[in-house]
């Protein structure tokens, strides 16, 4: 009983602390930083999607950090759950009485997976033009792989390929950032995409190295999320 009381008191205190935000902070025009991004983004970097310009180049350091977070989480989850490889052996799905994937799921997954992968690649290739980008593309690819896993749990994933893709795309991402640093000669343009031509706004080959960077991010995120799902699934039914 005492715990319930303390809990309600804690939630009430939290609400009281959040109240100034709800009361005082109403709707407002985008600040001058936002207008700066909206005007200079398309002009300087040639990207149609201003959010992508912020995520990839202006605040690219955040995204690099974010990819590292996912990378560390994957390493952590892998370390925690995948250790059971040498565990008590992988029982066949049938022995564990797991229901076999239904016919519909099998055929649908064979049909859908490639389409989904294509859709994912499309998303992170057009990150700078249309909504979506590296993360969303990567996740779609991960869901494509997920459907494959659900349909046929025994189809072991090519761990080697996944690790290589993850490692190389990460390394390439950092390398591109470093190239931005030395190539443009600007004071410290780490992750500055302008070493490639900006091209014409709206076309696929535009906005300098942003599409390439975002694609690498897409590959890496896709590989990592697949890694997490694979580790989670490991010897589940």
């Amino acid at each position: 009983m005492m715990k319930k009381l303390l809990l309600l008191a804690a939630i009430a205190l939290l609400a009281f602390a959040l109240w100034p935000f709800v009361r005082d902070v109403g709707l407002a025009e985008p600040g001058e930083l936002a207008t700066a991004y909206l005007e200079r983004g398309p002009a300087e970097l040639g990207t149609a999607n201003v959010v992508t310009s912020i995520v990839v180049s202006y605040r690219g350091f955040d995204t690099l950090g974010e990819v590292t977070v996912l990378f560390t989480a994957t390493a952590g989850v892998g370390g925690l759950l995948a250790r059971r490889k040498s565990g008590h052996g992988k029982k066949k799905a049938a022995e564990r009485g797991a229901t076999d994937a239904s016919e519909i799921l099998k055929t649908a997954s064979r049909l859908l997976s490639p389409l989904l992968v294509l859709f994912g690649v499309y998303i992170f290739l057009h990150g700078h033009l249309t909504p979506g980008g590296g993360f969303q593309g990567g996740v779609v690819i991960a869901t494509a792989v997920l459907i494959g896993l659900l349909a046929d749990p025994e189809a072991g994933l090519a761990h080697g390929v996944m690790h290589v893709v993850e490692g190389l795309s990460g390394f390439a991402y950092v390398a591109l950032g470093a190239v931005g640093l030395w190539f443009t000669g600007v004071q410290a343009g780490f992750l500055d995409p302008r070493f490639l031509p900006l091209g014409e706004l709206g076309r696929l080959a535009s906005a300098g190295a942003i599409p390439i960077i975002y694609s690498l991010v897409g590959l890496k995120v896709g590989a990592e999320l697949t890694g997490i799902l694979d580790a989670m699934k490991e010897d589940a039914e």
Partner: protein
């Protein structure tokens, strides 16, 4: 009353109410599976709100990661937990 601005508020308000209701239901429900699925529903509704607010990137991410992947990860860990439980009950290998 129904100029562009307030209809958006109404839509968002409705979606918001739905979300809060789903969240409360998820917290209070007895069965684990329903609370997990309901939290997925909350994320799905959230992506709709993000769309309404004019943040398509965020909507896609929330839909894909928030509702799809998070729910999948929850379900996988639920099944792993049950597998551990069975392993314990029948004196399994672990």
């Amino acid at each position: 009353m129904l100029d562009g601005r307030t209809t958006l508020d109404l839509v968002i308000g409705f979606l918001g109410l739905l979300m809060i209701f789903a969240a409360i239901w998820s917290v209070l429900s007895k069965r684990l599976l329903s609370s997990v699925l309901l939290s997925g529903a909350v994320s799905l509704l959230a992506s709709l709100v993000f769309l309404a607010v004019g943040a398509p990137d965020v909507a896609m991410t929330e839909a894909a990661i928030g509702s799809a992947l998070t729910t999948m990860v929850f379900l996988y860990s639920l099944s792993r937990m049950k597998a551990e439980q069975d392993a314990h009950e029948d004196g399994g290998a672990s």
